[in-house]
């Protein structure tokens, strides 16, 4: 857990255009809702518009998310998240 903490930041800290790999979702109450929308461990997200609420691109869709929830999503900053077929072709 410790090394995750070193490199990971809350999703709400990412700047516009930044990408992150989700490594922990700490919001137990909203876990199921977040997962349904694709905010789930192992997914890549891109911040389209920071703020409260913020706009994310995750799993091919734009998602509006309150900062309150984004604080509980830990991400590791990473390079741009292309759509799956953009890497595979």
């Amino acid at each position: 857990m410790n090394d995750i903490r070193h490199t990971s930041v809350p999703l709400s800290h990412l700047v516009k255009g930044a990408c992150g790999l989700i490594c922990a979702v700490e919001n137990k109450d909203e876990l199921a809702r977040l997962q349904s929308m694709g905010v789930c461990i192992g997914r890549r997200v891109e911040v389209i518009k920071p703020g409260d609420p913020l706009i994310l691109r995750v799993f091919g869709a734009r998602i509006g998310l309150s900062a309150r929830m984004a604080e509980h999503v830990q991400v590791e900053p990473c390079s741009k998240a292309p759509r799956c077929w953009e890497v595979s072709v």
């Binding site: 199921a32 349904s36 192992g42 929830m69 890497v87």
Partner: protein
């Protein structure tokens, strides 16, 4: 036994359009047992069959439209219900034969995620692929043959606006039992636990995401990647904390003005039509209790129900159009931060603005609010918005207060609206602190790409809502109207001496018309004052006296429970102008200004008029709204609470206003 086919898919995947194309108007709607989740069920329109031929043929194919969902995880009531139906655990729809999964080609990976869960339920499946044109514009081509091969099930491309593929899908549905369905090959074992939304221990979610991403990558061919820049650019403005809010207020003002302006025409027509029918009926029917029941009780009651329809139809038509463009989720997005302060979600704002036209469609439109607590809080405070029925009352009272002072009158008008909104937000805050504790559900919603809306769908949506209203609230509103009619009609009283004297005079006069009319007005006044309603009004007089009201105003308030504007015609009757008096506003205002208590003091003093105005802003006086609150919350507890807290609020506020102003 007939066949039942489930229609499942993500929100915004085009499921509703497909449902309408498959079934036409042959459908029923209702709520899943014990929930406020709506189902729609229709009979498959077979090729060559007219959509008007109703009736359940033995070999009919039923299409059940499940709510739009992202997964079967049971995170929302919609998902829970969908999972129940798919696993055969739903009491309303215990069986299902096959699934048509609606898949948005422009967003294949996300849509396939739900498909993976649907596949785990093991029902024969057909994939209906929509939005292929949108995908093509974005540079995405889907290899449908490959998809069909990998999914091991039929894949039908659809372009519903151009009516392409629907026939093919219909044929495929009819042959569902000839499909040699062997299951969708999934690379992971759907265990008992992961099946259809049960718990998630080692996160089958991740495996499903990976599966759907890999499958999408395999079947999608891209030439160039064109991300929807136009949507991003529009979002820059429309989700901006300042411009977004301003744009939203602009859109809502326009919507509101449209409802007002457009609905007025059919509403006036309905009122004229029902008035004419009632008048005609009165001349044809015998002049006794039965005739009066038919013309004044039932016909007026039916009119009271139907008169809500134009607003319901227009509001839901435009809301459906707005939703279809993708704008409504932006509206919820920008309003969320502001609304959250009083414990309401951003999605509550559209219903609250609509409440200024009429609380009934507004309460019906709270279904967009996902969370039950948030929805209840919104429904409870909605009737505080100044609806259109309050306007005639405001007009009369403000004319009494500010004759020939248009600026002050306009300010008072605005003040009444602001008071309503402020009271609603304040009450929401109090609800959050008391009986509905907790924060509003944090915002989490998809912001779909903007697109041109479909008029047909919006029309269907409005039609469904109209039907729902008539079915769920119509009968009770009719019964209540009849009860109120009976209260103001019985017991019958003999015409008083003064009326008889006037009639005698008329017999000897050369121009008896005026005297006879005066006699009729006097008789109407006497009748209502001696009816049950009149007696009740005298009973509550001591209660309303501290607010500055007399028994006649009390009677007006009681009669308002059918609809708030009724107080105008009641006041017109009790002040001797007859029922037609409400049409001559100037005369009515003058008469009210002349009105005196038995001891000679004027009735409508400034304090009393202000007090009555505040009372009408805040009081819950609309039984039809209460009926709709009951049908939307599923319990009489909530409308009673609504009645209780709003009446208390109105009473205290009016008391303070009257007593304070009287001291000055």
């Amino acid at each position: 036994m007939s066949t039942r086919i489930l229609l499942a898919g993500n929100p915004n995947a085009g499921k509703t359009t497909l449902f309408n194309a498959l079934t036409g108007l042959r459908m029923r709607t209702g709520n899943f047992h014990g929930t406020t989740v709506e189902w729609k069920s229709g009979t498959l329109r077979l090729p060559g069959q007219k959509s008007s031929s109703r009736g359940a043929e033995p070999d009919a194919v039923e299409i059940l439209d499940l709510p739009g969902i992202y997964s079967l995880k049971a995170a929302t009531p919609e998902e829970a219900v969908a999972a129940e139906v798919l696993t055969g655990h739903n009491p309303d729809f215990p069986t299902a034969d096959a699934v048509v999964a609606v898949v948005d080609a422009s967003n294949l990976d996300r849509n396939l995620f739900l498909v993976s869960q649907l596949a785990e339920c093991g029902k024969p499946m057909i994939l209906a692929v929509t939005m292929l044109d949108v995908a093509r514009e974005a540079g995405i081509r889907v290899d449908l043959d490959r998809l069909s091969e990998r999914m091991n099930c039929p894949v039908i491309p659809l372009n519903i606006p151009k009516n392409q593929g629907v026939d093919l899908l219909q044929d495929q549905i009819c042959q569902w039992n000839q499909m040699h369905f062997t299951g969708v090959p999934l690379p992971y074992k759907p265990t008992e636990e992961s099946l259809c939304g049960a718990g998630c221990s080692s996160c089958p979610f991740s495996r499903r995401f990976t599966w759907s991403e890999q499958l999408a990558a395999e079947v999608v061919r891209t030439q160039h990647v064109a991300r929807s820049r136009s949507t991003d650019r529009l979002d820059e403005v429309l989700t901006h904390p300042l411009w977004g809010v301003l744009a939203f207020l602009g859109v809502m003002t326009l919507l509101f003005a449209l409802i007002f302006a457009v609905a007025e025409i059919p509403m006036a027509l309905i009122e004229v039509l029902f008035g004419w029918i009632a008048d005609t009926a009165a001349t044809v029917l015998p002049d006794n209790d039965f005739g009066s029941l038919l013309s004044d009780g039932i016909l007026t009651g039916v009119g009271n129900v139907v008169v809500f329809l134009p607003q319901i139809l227009i509001l839901f038509f435009f809301l459906a159009l707005l939703e279809d463009t993708g704008y409504l989720s932006r509206a919820a997005f920008v309003m969320d931060r502001l609304m959250r302060k009083v414990g309401l979600p951003g999605t509550a704002f559209v219903p609250m603005v609509s409440g200024h036209a009429c609380a009934i469609p507004a309460i019906m439109s709270t279904r967009v609010i996902e969370n039950a607590r948030d929805r209840l809080a919104t429904i409870l405070v909605l009737p505080l918005m100044s609806c259109a029925a309050r306007i005639p009352v405001y007009v009369i009272l403000i004319r009494l207060l500010f004759p020939n002072q248009p600026l002050l009158a306009a300010l008072a008008f605005t003040g009444a609206y602001v008071l309503g909104v402020g009271a609603a937000l304040g009450s929401a805050y109090l609800l959050k602190k008391t009986i509905l504790p907790g924060e509003s559900k944090p915002l989490l919603l998809e912001l779909p790409a903007y697109k041109t809306p479909g008029i047909g769908n919006a029309g269907m949506h409005a039609y469904e809502k109209g039907l729902t209203f008539l079915k769920q609230a119509g009968t009770i509103i009719l019964l209540i109207s009849m009860a109120l009619w009976a209260l103001s009609t019985y017991p019958k009283s003999e015409p008083p001496e003064s009326v008889l004297a006037l009639r005698m005079q008329a017999e000897q006069s050369d121009s008896p018309d005026e005297l006879l009319a005066a006699a009729d007005r006097e008789e109407a006044r006497h009748a209502i004052e001696h009816s049950f309603a009149g007696r009740m009004a005298r009973g509550i007089e001591p209660v309303v006296r501290p607010l500055g009201f007399d028994g006649r105003i009390g009677l007006g308030i009681l009669s308002s429970f059918a609809a708030r504007e009724v107080i105008v015609s009641t006041l017109s009757i009790v002040y001797g102008l007859g029922e037609e008096g409400e049409e001559d506003e100037v005369l009515l205002v003058d008469t009210l200004r002349q009105a005196r208590h038995p001891d000679g003091r004027p009735v409508f003093t400034r304090p009393a008029s202000w007090s009555l105005l505040v009372f009408y802003v805040l009081a819950m006086q609309c039984l039809p709204t209460q009926v709709v609150t009951r049908s939307e919350t599923g319990s009489w507890k909530w409308p009673l609470l609504q009645l209780g807290y709003m009446s208390t609020l109105a009473y205290i506020a009016s008391f303070l206003v009257y007593q304070t102003l009287s001291l000055l």
